[in-house]
């Protein structure tokens, strides 16, 4: 399977990064050319050309080790997917080889102070000026925003959604690293300010007016898919650890696994994990077919997998007791990271709206217009 040969870090390394709240620069250097950051980019652009299932399994492997690193795979894949789907031939040729190799790290700058789940409310201005655009606005919680070489910025041009690629070294780009967040602590989050940043016209991705419903929607769909699979990896890792602990640990001469209440926790975790994996496989299958249901199937998979990861991590901490609460415990880290998964790339509640809307419209209910 494509991607299975990529060497990944150990759990103890991932724990150190979480504590240090950063990925080591040596790791980022080593990732260049490994294929991890361009797994599903076509080989013609230097990627591995992984199928949806192969990309998913890779994200599960990475997610089971380190959600922050999986976050890098996700955001790189999101921006690459946007360029691959809606870039001109020139834009694809210019950006995709560097993104596939990891020579360039990408950030998706969408969220603002007044625009989170409702991205139609973004206020970042993309103003036409001469042979380019001037970008002005402040973006929050940009994953790998501290390190990104290029940002895909969602803004508004004369009231219409627009997406532009903004190189981080352009005058007027400022970033403020965020530390101490609940989860994904090594994901180099940053708030990024764009103060009158000029970019050439060639940096506009898709025509003005198509930034939200086409570019951002494509980017977020890709993000949901990789986050969903990352959650499967987290749940599987936590389940494995909890089961091993329950089988090994004895109290008053009785293994924890002999207690019916512990067995109940494990059984629910097995079921949640298996269900989320099956939904992710189903989403991968529909994505491969290119069917329109792929979007909703991906929302469904992400919603269930994030919920499952949070529940399974919670039970893993509970079963392991003090060990589960220890500073470098995988379960504790996943417990924090999984909560973030229920919020990013479409909160659980926004996912529920889409899922319910999809069901209701099949029964004649008028489609809602609430955007995610």
């Amino acid at each position: 399977m494509i991607g299975s040969e990529i060497a990944l870090p150990t759990l103890s390394e991932a724990a150190k990064w979480d504590r240090a709240q950063e990925l080591p620069s040596a790791l980022l250097r080593d990732l260049r050319g490994s294929g991890l950051l361009g797994a599903d980019i076509p080989p013609v652009y230097g990627g591995l050309g992984a199928s949806a299932t192969e990309l998913g399994e890779l994200c599960a492997r990475v997610g089971g080790l380190c959600s922050s690193l999986r976050g890098l795979v996700t955001v790189q894949g999101m921006v690459s997917a946007g360029v691959l789907r809606w870039g001109t031939r020139e834009q694809r040729d210019r950006w995709l080889p560097s993104l596939a190799s990891g020579e360039l790290i990408a950030g998706f700058a969408a969220t603002e102070r007044e625009a989170g789940s409702d991205l139609a409310a973004v206020r970042t201005e993309v103003a036409e000026q001469g042979d380019g655009f001037v970008v002005s606005g402040e973006k929050l919680w940009v994953t790998f925003g501290e390190l990104a070489d290029v940002f895909l910025v969602l803004g508004t041009a004369s009231g219409r959604p627009a997406t532009v690629l903004v190189e981080a070294d352009r005058p007027g780009v400022r970033r403020e690293p965020v530390r101490g967040q609940l989860g994904m602590r090594a994901a180099h989050l940053a708030h990024v300010e764009f103060e009158n940043v000029w970019v050439p016209k060639e940096n506009l991705l898709a025509p003005i007016g198509f930034g939200l419903s086409y570019v951002a929607a494509t980017v977020l769909d890709h993000g949901r898919f990789t986050v969903a699979w990352g959650c499967v990896g987290m749940a599987e890792a936590c389940l494995h650890e909890a089961a091993a602990h329950a089988a090994r640990r004895t109290q008053r001469g009785v293994a924890l696994g002999a207690h019916q209440l512990v067995r109940s926790l494990l059984a629910r975790s097995v079921t949640d994990t298996a269900a989320s994996r099956e939904l992710c496989l189903r989403a991968a299958r529909v994505r491969t077919e290119g069917a329109p249901e792929a979007l909703v199937e991906t929302v469904l998979a992400k919603y269930r997998a994030a919920e499952a990861a949070a529940a399974v991590a919670d039970r893993a901490v509970q079963i392991q007791g003090a060990t589960g609460c220890a500073p470098d415990s995988l379960a504790a880290r996943c417990y924090r990271d999984a909560k973030v998964m229920e919020i990013i790339e479409g909160s659980a509640q926004v996912c529920e709206l889409h899922i319910a809307d999809n069901l209701l419209r099949q029964h004649g209910f008028r489609r809602g217009t609430g955007d995610g």
Binding site: W86, G87, T88, L119, A120, A206, P207, G209, F210, L212, S213, Y214, A216, A217, T218, D221, E289, G290, A291, P292, A294, L295, V296, V299, H354, L360, R361, Q362, G364, F365, R366, R367, G368, T369, G370, D371, G372
Partner: protein
């Protein structure tokens, strides 16, 4: 089933209310960002075409008739009588 009919069936089922062939479902506020992309995927999947960035003109997508014309042009077939 002709292109226009297939589009009509998909759109009315998806939107959940009757639509005229020239009703602008974007203007009527019946389309959210997820569905806009879903519509692209449906057209590509059903008619075996690829919608590229050069095709991104909302006038191609805003009504059933216009979308049908767009598909016909892309597939080089006349789908409307």
């Amino acid at each position: 089933m002709q292109t226009q009919e297939q589009l009509h069936e998909f759109l009315t089922t998806s939107i959940g209310e009757p639509l005229g062939l020239d009703d602008d479902y974007f203007e009527l506020g019946l389309v959210n960002s997820l569905f806009a992309l879903e519509l692209i995927k449906f057209v590509e999947h059903r008619f075996g075409i690829t919608i590229e960035v050069a095709d991104l003109d909302l006038d191609h997508f805003r009504t059933i008739n216009r979308l049908s014309d767009f598909v016909a042009a892309k597939t080089d077939t006349v789908s409307r009588p």
